[in-house]
């Protein structure tokens, strides 16, 4: 089912939930809504589900405008962060509930519930009540209940955020696998960017009720269109520094205090053409500690992450986060030279916060 959201605005009195959101989702696509707390992800989802009525704008499922369609007539499956299992029903009754409401015959209900339960690996739990299950099991029941009615659209509201890291990893894979197999158009809300990056075909990044970007994961990572997206996507986050970019003899240089960084023409010319200071962004993996580095600094902090060390290097008033091999055994206070891979540098207009490179 293709979903087209056009200029959607939802207000609660004076509070803006989402503002002027336009998003076209293809049939069978897996889209993640990514954004910090309170940015309007749940509001958008509940509006799609028909729980909230849009204040303005149009929502279309296929060719049908669904703005005023009741939730029960939308054929949507939804998984809530709190799982929202009915505590007074057994697991069987929970999963069968959507079928019972559709007046599916008892025998068919029984078959479908058992089939879904087996796919979800909860076949043995059908006689229990939700209170007697672990978080992961409840999660599977919630997913089963959403799938059993063979929905046209699946909505997930942070379905994994209450699980431990390990379980989250397996469930992530299972959900993705299931979605691809069934080909159900899905929207997945999360503020965990790893989840968004690994699962989604495209990611909608939201902030303060507005859409910041809507792109494939690697596009967002390699070619962020706004400062917010650049800073929000990627872990550890991108380093930002105010620089002046100048061009002389066909050679561009980004400069800030004592730091002088030559930039290739392709990336250097747009910021050089900008009158005034711009914001330069560079990812931690594009900075290395190397003897032939041209920026000298001092290590301020070393945080071991296991596989590698996260190192905070201070250069004058500036601070850079980078990653280094643990066997290099860097220590705080050590003086190091840094090498910047300027072919990966990003530049942003400090006023509009838009990228000077990609638009």
């Amino acid at each position: 089912m293709e979903i087209r959201i056009d200029n959607l605005t939802k207000k609660f009195g004076d509070v803006v939930g989402v503002e002027d959101l336009t998003l076209h989702i293809d049939d069978g696509e897996f889209v993640a809504f990514l954004g910090p707390s309170g940015c309007g992800k749940t509001t958008t989802l509940l509006t799609l589900a028909g729980i909230y009525k849009p204040t303005e704008g149009l929502i279309r499922f296929g060719d049908r405008v669904v703005n005023t369609v009741q939730p029960k007539d939308r054929n949507i499956g939804m998984v809530f962060q709190s799982y929202a299992l009915y505590p007074h029903m057994t697991i069987f009754q929970n999963i069968a509930y959507p079928l019972k409401l559709k007046k599916t015959p008892k025998k068919a209900q029984n078959e479908q519930v058992r089939q879904v339960a087996n796919v979800m690996g909860i076949g043995e739990l059908l006689d229990r009540r939700p209170g007697q299950l672990s978080g992961g099991q409840q999660q599977r029941v919630a997913l089963g209940r959403a799938l059993v009615k063979e929905p046209d659209v699946l909505l997930f509201d942070e379905p994994l955020s209450n699980l431990d890291a390990r379980l989250r990893l397996t469930m992530r894979g299972e959900i993705k696998h299931l979605q691809k197999n069934l080909g159900i158009t899905s929207i997945y809300v999360t503020h965990d960017q790893v989840e968004a990056m690994t699962m989604a075909d495209r990611i909608a990044v939201m902030n303060l009720g507005q859409l910041q970007a809507f792109d494939a994961p690697d596009e967002l990572y390699d070619r962020p269109k706004t400062l917010f997206v650049a800073g929000f996507v990627g872990n550890p986050p991108m380093n930002f520094i105010d620089v002046d970019v100048s061009q002389s003899n066909g050679q561009c240089v980004a400069a800030a205090d004592s730091i002088q960084l030559p930039v290739g023409k392709e990336r250097g010319e747009p910021p050089a053409g900008y009158a005034g200071t711009v914001v330069m962004g560079i990812r931690p993996e594009d900075i290395t500690i190397a003897d032939d580095g041209n920026v000298n600094g001092e290590i301020f902090l070393v945080e071991p992450l296991g596989r590698e060390d996260l190192i905070d290097v201070r250069v004058g008033p500036h601070s850079f986060i980078l990653l280094a091999d643990t066997d290099k055994q860097h220590r705080a206070g050590e003086r190091v030279a840094l090498k910047f891979d300027m072919t990966q540098a990003q530049f942003f207009d400090p006023q509009t916060e838009r990228s000077l490179l990609w638009n």
Binding site: L46, A49, G50, I51, Q70, P71, K72, I76, G77, M78, F80, Q81, S82, A84, Y86, P87, H88, Y97, P98, L101, K102, E124, L125, R129, G131, Q132, S134, Q137, R145, K149, L155
Partner: protein, 327 residues
């Protein structure tokens, strides 16, 4: 893991912690003591006295200053009661009054009002509920005066003035339809209790659960039936039980409105009889012993009903079984 030898907690420390536990027990009882004393003085002792009175012939006609002369007559009061032709009528009056008021108003209307006011705008819902509380917070005498004014005979009664204005015949409502007024008057008071309990129960159901039901394909009515009502079963049981008992024992409004009339015991209920017999006999003879027998039976009926309710609502199912991990 446990190695008692190296455990720094010595036996002295153990004794100390036991002493602390004991002390906290004692202070807990200390805090409960004032309430406990009140319950004993103002409930348990009076109950015992009433029980005792019900097996004596104490009445104002044979009352002397020498209480020792009071005669123990065993179950004679109870035998009289069971052979009293009016006791039968009053018994069925009571059942009728409690059942009708409870089901239509104290539970039925309370449930409807709380469901309606939780499905509309919050502010409006609050206003409607506040209106329903008015009958309860109005003093019974004032409240009954209002109803008497409304139901009075022409040309005084408000209802009859409306009848006259519309060219309809007028009625003496309290003598033609006393039960309607007894039930409505008590019912309007009774709605607010259940309404408050049900509303707070409905509002404490997690929003996600209510949304999930709609997404799963329920209409709002189906959501009430399959999700909301089962989830407020415990408050429902509580209100049914509690309101049955309070209706059984309430009589002030009936006393003020009809005083059990018109005629012989037309709207007389059990608790009002206990009062009439023991404290306000028409013939000037207060039959304390006989009245107490009525009171004792009322308490017994109440206890039996409470137990039956708990069985019918299957209390044990409200308690979840212990959690057992599958993996």
């Amino acid at each position: 893991m446990s190695q008692p030898d190296t455990n720094p907690k010595s036996s002295a420390a153990l004794v100390q912690s036991r002493r602390n536990a004991l002390r906290s027990y004692l202070s807990a009882y200390g805090f409960m003591a004032p309430a406990g004393v009140l319950v004993i003085i103002f409930f348990l002792i009076p109950v015992a006295i009433v029980l005792y009175l019900s097996v004596t012939n104490l009445a104002s006609s044979n009352f002397t200053s020498d209480l020792a002369k009071m005669e123990f007559i065993g179950l004679k009061n109870y035998r009289t009661l069971f052979n009293d032709q009016f006791a039968r009528k009053i018994f069925f009056n009571t059942i009728f009054y409690v059942l009708v008021t409870l089901s239509i108003f104290n539970v039925g209307l309370a449930l409807i009002v709380s469901l309606l006011t939780t499905h509309i705008d919050r502010g409006a819902g609050f206003v409607f509920r506040a209106l329903w509380i008015l009958p309860r917070i109005t003093s019974p005498v004032v409240y009954i005066l209002i109803w008497k004014r409304m139901s009075a005979e022409a040309p005084f009664g408000i209802l009859n003035q409306i009848n006259e204005a519309l060219g309809q015949p007028t009625f003496n409502y309290l003598s033609t339809n006393p039960w309607v007024f007894v039930v409505v008057v008590n019912g309007f008071i009774g709605v607010s209790f259940g309404m408050i309990i049900f509303t707070s129960a409905i509002e404490s159901i997690p929003k996600d659960l209510l949304n999930a039901s709609l997404v799963d394909g329920s209409s709002r009515m189906q959501r009430i039936r399959y999700v909301i009502l089962p989830l407020i079963r415990w408050p429902l049981l509580f209100v049914v039980t509690y309101q049955t008992l309070s209706l059984l024992t309430s009589f002030v409004e009936i006393q003020l409105l009809t005083d059990g009339g018109p005629g012989l015991y037309r709207t007389e209920v059990w608790s009002l009889t206990a009062y009439h017999r023991a404290l306000s006999n028409y013939f000037g003879n207060a039959q304390w012993g006989y009245g107490s027998a009525f009171a004792v039976l009322l308490v017994m009926i109440g206890v039996v009903l409470a137990v039956i309710y708990m069985r019918v609502f299957r209390f044990d199912e409200l308690i979840a079984e212990p959690r057992v991990e599958a993996l």
